[in-house]
Symmetry: C2
Subunit: 231 residues, 2 copies
DNA sequence: CCCTTTCCTTGATCGGCATCAAGAAGAAGG
DNA sequence: CCTTCTTCTTGATGCCGATCAAGGAAAGGG
C-alpha cells in the first residue's frame, strides 16, 4: 500500500505555525527545525508502543493518529484521536519516562519528530517559550480532567451528546451538520462504549428527532434542544 | 460554627510538597512562599466566581472545595470536588484568562493563594525553574492519564486491589498491613464506586482470604497472590 | 454516660451497558 | 461486476454495580 502524498515538506514553516511555537522568533526555531525528522506511516502502522522510551515529541502533518492503552483482551481503550497540526508526547519528554500509551496511525499519515534536546535548549534561552509550553500542558491537563469527569458522572448518551456538541462549528444555535471525523468504532472507544451501544444510542437519538443520522453525516435540527437533553 | 483548626501553618513546607513544585529546589521557592496568603472559608462560602480574573492559583490545606459551572436555574453543574494537597487554577493562570468555573467550599476549609506574579518572575529569572515546573505539570498529566486508564479498562475489584497495592510500603513481597489513610467513603469516591459496593468488595476479598479487614486496618497475608488476582 | 450524628455494612432490586451472535450495508480490489 | 473484507446495525441475554431501604457500629458532644 502506498504511503500517501509525496509532496516536499518544509519543516521550518510547519513548525513555525504550530500553536506551541507561534510566538517564538523564527531565528530561534532554526535549530529545532534542523534536528526534526519527518516520518510517514501507513494505516495501522505503530509509531510507538506503550513502554517505549520518549526521546522527543511528535506533530501531525497530515492523517490521523490515535493514542490508546493496549489491552491483552484486544479491546484497547482509545484516549485521543489527533489530526493535523496537533502534537503529542511533550509531557512525557520532560519526565524521562517511557510512553504511557501507544500511538498508531488510523489513516496513512505523516508526522514530524521533534527531539528533546533542542526543545530544552530553547526553553533555557527563551522564557516566553517556556510559558507557552506551560500553557499548552495546562490546557491538556484541563481537558483530561474533563474526560475523567465525563467517564465518572455522565451517562453514555450524555457523553455522545457532549461529543456531538463539541464538533459543532461555532457555539451556534439553530441547526448544524457534522461530518464525523473518524469511524464510529473509534468514536465508541473514545467515549468508552462498545460499537453496538454507540449504534443504539445513535438510533435512539434519531428516533427522538434530536438528530438525523445519514451514515457518517449527522444533522442536528436544533442545537439548543440537544444541549438541554437530560437523560 | 468556628472555621476550623487553628494550628500555625508553615506555608513554605506546604508549597514545597505540592506536585507542581515537588521538583523545584526549596531555595527557589522562598519568594513564592513569601507572597502567598492563606485563607479560611466557612462551609458554603465562595472562593471565586466564574469570570473572575485569575491572579494566581490555590492549594487546599484542609477541607473540600468544589468547582462548578453556575446556572441561573440553580442546578449548577459540578465539575470537580477537590481535597487536601490538591491545587487548582494553575492552568488558567498560565493562559491569562478568567476562571471558567466557580469555586465554593463544600466544608469548612483552608486554602493557600499563590499569586501569579512571583511564579512568572521565577520562570523568567531561572530557566531551570521553568523546566522543573514543566516536569511537575507533566507528572500530573501522567498520573491523570493513569486514572483514565483505570476507570476505563479495569473492574471495580481490580481498582481496589490496585489501590491497596499502592498503599503497601515497599514493593515488598510476603505480608503487609495497611492503615487506610481516609474514610472508606472517600476511598470509594476515589475509586469511582459507591460506599456499598466498596464494602461488598472488601467482604468478598476477605472471604477469599486475600485480605483481612479489621476496621480501617487491612492485612495482606500474601502480596504476590493479591497482585496476581485477575477478576 | 447517653444521645445524636456520621460511617459502615447487608439485603433486595433494578437498569445500563457489555457480550454473544448474526445479518446488512458499504468499501476495496481484482 | 462479483467477491471479500470491513464497518455498522439489530436482537437476545447476562452481569456488574447503582440504587433503595434499613439496621448496626463508631465517634463525637453535651
Amino acid at each position: 500500500m502506498a504511503v500517501g502524498k509525496p509532496e516536499k515538506i518544509d519543516i521550518a514553516s510547519i513548525i513555525s505555525r504550530l500553536p506551541l511555537f507561534v510566538e517564538v522568533p523564527p531565528a530561534q526555531l532554526q535549530h529545532v527545525a534542523a534536528e526534526s525528522r519527518e516520518r510517514r506511516l501507513a494505516k495501522g502502522e505503530m509509531l510507538f508502543h506503550k513502554g517505549d522510551p520518549a526521546r522527543g515529541f511528535f506533530v501531525i502533518i497530515w492523517g490521523q493518529i490515535k493514542l490508546a492503552f493496549p489491552s491483552s483482551t484486544g479491546n484497547e481503550k482509545v484516549v485521543q484521536v489527533l489530526g493535523p497540526r496537533q502534537s503529542f508526547g511533550e509531557a512525557v519528554m520532560f519526565m524521562d519516562r517511557p510512553y504511557p500509551v501507544l500511538a498508531e496511525a488510523v489513516s496513512d499519515a505523516m508526522v514530524l519528530h521533534i527531539p528533546r534536546k533542542p526543545v530544552i535548549e530553547l526553553i533555557e534561552r527563551d522564557t516566553s517559550f517556556a510559558l507557552a509550553m506551560l500553557a499548552g500542558l495546562s490546557t491538556r491537563l484541563h481537558s483530561l480532567v474533563h474526560d475523567v469527569e465525563s467517564y465518572s458522572l455522565r451517562s453514555s448518551t450524555q457523553r455522545l451528546i457532549g461529543y456531538l456538541l463539541q464538533q459543532c462549528p461555532a457555539e451556534g444555535k439553530g441547526t448544524a451538520e457534522i461530518e464525523l471525523p473518524t469511524s464510529k468504532q473509534l468514536i465508541a472507544s473514545l467515549l468508552n462504549l462498545t460499537p453496538e451501544t454507540l449504534s443504539r444510542i445513535f438510533r435512539d437519538l434519531g428516533d427522538s428527532g434530536l438528530i438525523e443520522v445519514h451514515g457518517r453525516l449527522i444533522k442536528i435540527p436544533d442545537i439548543a434542544r440537544l444541549r438541554e437533553v437530560d437523560f
